[in-house]
Symmetry: C2
Subunit: 170 residues, 2 copies
């Protein structure tokens, strides 16, 4: 997508020293750019091959929800501790900055068999790997990972044995 | 919307004792129901009157993003502490369960003049009131608050002097 990078701002040392944070919120502030991006993401094979999508809290919700709407693929979510009610399955992960865990509702995961993982950014891939484990360890299939931005130098995609796609490399 | 309540589950004592949590995630697990809901929300006068929408972290992102996509209204976000980079404006609020603050990026708020506030649920209205203050105290206008569910007994709408609309009363 031409000029998408004009809508992404980099903040050095956020949320902590040594991290160059990519702020994608400028995309949603231009409805034509947001529309074009979502349509492009929906045309990706990772989405087409999936019965449903799984969006990662919280920025992943922004892209996942619009993709779900436009592609008519149902969406389930992976959330941080304490956020989801009901019976959960949980996995820990190491993030680029810190440590955390993600959960999916057991009943939600049961509903579909193949999932496309959606997030805003692929850095080291820790978060997406955690979600992939949640899905695979519970007998379901991942069609791939689709993000808006990929930080190529961190080589996060080497963590995955399924298709990894991103709209913009940075 | 007929039967929307079939896709909403109530969990007692979540996230803490005395709270009956409304889980709306079942809506997104049925793409037809989600589509119908978003189209209905986009037709609301609160959205039509606004230049942009402001979505509240994190469940508000799910509905806000799809509304932004379908209505072609740009979206800005209100987030919890430590989540947004750049220069921020911040307000504190009391939640149904706990205390917190919300921030908006100063540069984002400057871009538009009238905002529709979007969230998943209206309970006591503390969160939405906080966002309304953020907008008004910085010289911008709120066209109204639009949520999926409204907990009528808590009378959150009495906090607001602008239109408040919800798809389902519970």
């Amino acid at each position: 997508m031409k000029n998408l990078d004009r809508f992404i701002e980099t903040y050095d040392d956020f949320p902590k020293k040594g991290i160059a944070f990519k702020d994608l919120l400028g995309i949603m502030q231009d409805s034509q750019v947001f529309r074009e991006l979502i349509i492009k993401m929906c045309s990706n094979q990772v989405i087409k091959d999936a019965e449903a999508i799984v969006s990662i809290e919280a920025r992943g919700f922004i892209f996942g929800s619009a993709i779900s709407f436009h592609s008519s693929k149902p969406m389930i979510v992976a959330r941080k501790p304490g956020k989801l009610p009901g019976e959960l399955i949980q996995e820990n992960y190491n993030l680029e900055y810190g440590k955390n865990s993600l959960s999916i509702q057991k009943e939600a995961l049961k509903k579909f068999n193949t999932y496309a993982i959606i997030d805003d950014l692929l850095a080291t891939g820790g978060t997406a790997k955690c979600v992939a484990n949640l899905i695979k360890n519970n007998g379901k299939k991942v069609t791939g990972l689709l993000t808006v931005v990929e930080l190529i130098e961190l080589n996060g995609r080497s963590k995955f044995n399924f298709p990894v796609s991103s709209i913009l490399s940075a």
